[in-house]
């Protein structure tokens, strides 16, 4: 193509990094300013206020919060629910991704939407669905569950189930696009060389999506630790027994135990910030990976 586009004196030639230096460019100053102000008021200030309130009386009183039995048992339950829910969702996510990504079939888009469903259903409705299924008095399977001697609603299995439902799409959502992009060749090569399905998955598929999987894992874990609405419905919120850490935050705040509430919130917020940093790190690796895999087949 040798069409020469005549550029105006004001237009910048480098599209990747438009830097406007000549004259006073009002939008170039105003737009970042408005963006920063908006994000500052809506996101940054509230986040900082949690830190400020948690450490308002210094580090000592903050650490004293962790002698509260309720807080510790809530922390334990949250960690337990996450430890069960995340591996389950990792297995499902990888299975769904390998099953769906490499195939074209009728209803693929529909199936993907179905997997996305927990993103758009209110967490409270998710909890309600579980109650209507497993509640001993009103649930569809309540009788069967009770005769088996199990307890799901107002107990840990309900909390785990609620956490699983709310977080299961993340893994599949992150891995599927990458698998679709990469294509079949490597798996085919492994298979022609005599690898079993399991070997192909373990040695070829999984390593090729490891960063996307890690990204999905981080998102799943962060969400699982913080899930509130769905757990609030099924847990019964019994202090020291079925109260997760997010529920504890609300309960403590409503009971005017402000320091405890902010202490617990600081723990959750700290985890969120760590997960955010990890996410940025993995994103950068993922971006480099993508660039590398795009260059390879051509070169």
């Amino acid at each position: 193509m040798t069409i020469v586009v005549p550029t105006l004196e004001t237009s910048r030639p480098a599209p990747a990094r438009p830097s406007r230096r000549q004259g006073l460019d009002l939008p170039a100053i105003l737009i970042p300013l408005i963006a920063c102000l908006y994000v500052g008021v809506v996101i940054l200030l509230p986040a900082l206020s949690v830190v400020a309130s948690a450490f308002a009386k210094g580090l000592g009183p903050f650490l004293e919060n962790f002698q509260s039995h309720e807080l510790l048992s809530a922390l334990r339950l949250t960690l337990f629910a996450t430890a069960v829910a995340v591996p389950c969702n990792v297995i499902f996510g990888l299975a769904a991704a390998t099953a769906i990504a490499r195939r074209q079939f009728r209803g693929k888009a529909l199936l993907l939407s179905v997997i996305d469903l927990p993103f758009s259903i209110s967490p409270v409705v998710v909890g309600l669905m579980l109650v209507l299924l497993y509640s001993p008095s009103h649930g569809l399977l309540g009788g069967a569950i009770e005769s088996l001697g199990w307890k799901i609603i107002f107990s840990w299995p309900g909390i785990v189930l609620a956490t699983i439902i709310v977080t299961f799409p993340f893994m599949a959502r992150e891995v599927i696009p990458l698998l679709e992009e990469e294509g079949w060749e490597q798996e085919e090569a492994a298979r022609t060389l005599g690898a079993t399905n399991w070997q192909v998955f373990w040695k070829v598929t999984l390593p090729s999506v490891r960063w996307a999987a890690l990204y999905g894992l981080i998102l799943t874990t962060a969400r699982a630790l913080g899930e509130f609405g769905a757990v609030a419905v099924v847990s019964g919120n019994i202090e020291g027994l079925t109260q997760t850490l997010p529920l504890f935050v609300e309960d403590a705040y409503k009971n005017y135990q402000t320091e405890l509430a902010f202490g617990a919130a600081m723990v959750l917020g700290g985890v969120a910030i760590v997960s955010l940093l990890l996410k940025i790190l993995v994103e950068q690796v993922l971006e480099q990976d993508r660039k590398a895999s795009r260059v390879e087949p051509e070169g």
Binding site: I91, S120, E188, P246
Partner: protein
């Protein structure tokens, strides 16, 4: 070096339901379809007349107005400012840009209960922003409808930014240059060349944020005073009904929200199909 066998296409020899398929469908069945089915069965058992009656009690209607109305306000605010933030991230260079970029994701990562606590602390009448707002304008934010809106704005902010950003980045500079060459002012170029191309992404992000804001519970319940007919949202009404052991009403109102979720999923998918027209052109 044996490149020959790699090139030959061989259809994957899969015994029909392979293990990944079996796991996927079993898991989806147990985790998603079973609870969904239970709720739909319970809702169907109510009967159409009873369903309509319970879905449209004045109490329920009032919560719909709060939930759907305030979520609309919140997502329109985010539609405007989300575009500004996305523009700043893609088209401008300024100090603190990396921090801004990272902060956008905070509402996704922060547990909603923590978000609710943080917003309540800042916007209550003795908070950092609540106090000046209250003194200057007599505006009560936390424990009133504006607080609910603020919480909804907080949790749905990332959606617009993150859907507009990639589209804005992939826009061809040539079109804008052509527009400038033809004598359009920067404002005209932005409004008539850039914005139409961004519109599907903006609407898609607004729809996603709206859907999320309508269903949001954790952060809203903390900043709201939860007074019926004033700032009680629909998810909180469902929980109140459950606490009163009124399972039928909870089921009916929950089904209304579920129907809305399915509908919004459809709208979001259609918007994505529409948006792909533009992305297809760019590729």
């Amino acid at each position: 070096m044996t490149p020959a066998p790699l090139r030959r296409w061989r259809p994957p020899a899969l015994s029909l339901p392979s293990w990944p398929w079996r796991i996927t469908w079993t898991y989806l069945g147990l985790i998603l379809f079973l609870p969904l089915g239970a709720m739909l069965l319970r809702a169907a058992a109510v009967g159409p007349a009873g369903f309509w009656e319970m879905a449209t009690t004045p109490e329920a209607i009032a919560t719909y107005k709060v939930s759907f109305g305030l979520a609309l306000v919140a997502s329109v605010i985010n539609g405007v400012f989300g575009l500004v933030v996305a523009w700043a991230l893609v088209r401008c260079r300024f100090p603190g840009q990396r921090l801004l970029d990272a902060l956008i994701d905070l509402p996704f990562a922060l547990p909603t209960a923590v978000a609710g606590l943080a917003l309540t602390a800042v916007y209550s009448t003795n908070g950092w922003l609540g106090q000046p707002l209250n003194e200057a304008f007599g505006l009560k934010v936390a424990f009133a409808a504006p607080g609910v809106t603020v919480a909804m704005v907080f949790i749905s902010l990332p959606f617009v930014v993150r859907t507009v950003e990639p589209v804005l980045r992939s826009l061809e500079k040539e079109q804008e240059e052509a527009s400038w060459c033809l004598g359009a002012t920067p404002l005209q170029t932005t409004v008539r060349v850039v914005l139409p191309q961004l519109l599907p992404a903006i609407l898609g992000g607004v729809a996603q944020g709206y859907s999320r804001a309508v269903g949001e519970y954790g952060s809203v319940v903390m900043i709201s005073s939860n007074v019926p007919f004033r700032d009680l949202i629909t998810p909180t009404l469902i929980i109140q009904k459950l606490e009163e052991y009124d399972f039928e009403a909870a089921t009916v109102i929950g089904s209304v929200m579920l129907i809305f979720s399915l509908f919004s999923l459809l709208v979001i998918n259609l918007l994505q199909v529409w948006g792909q027209r533009y992305q297809g052109d760019a590729a």
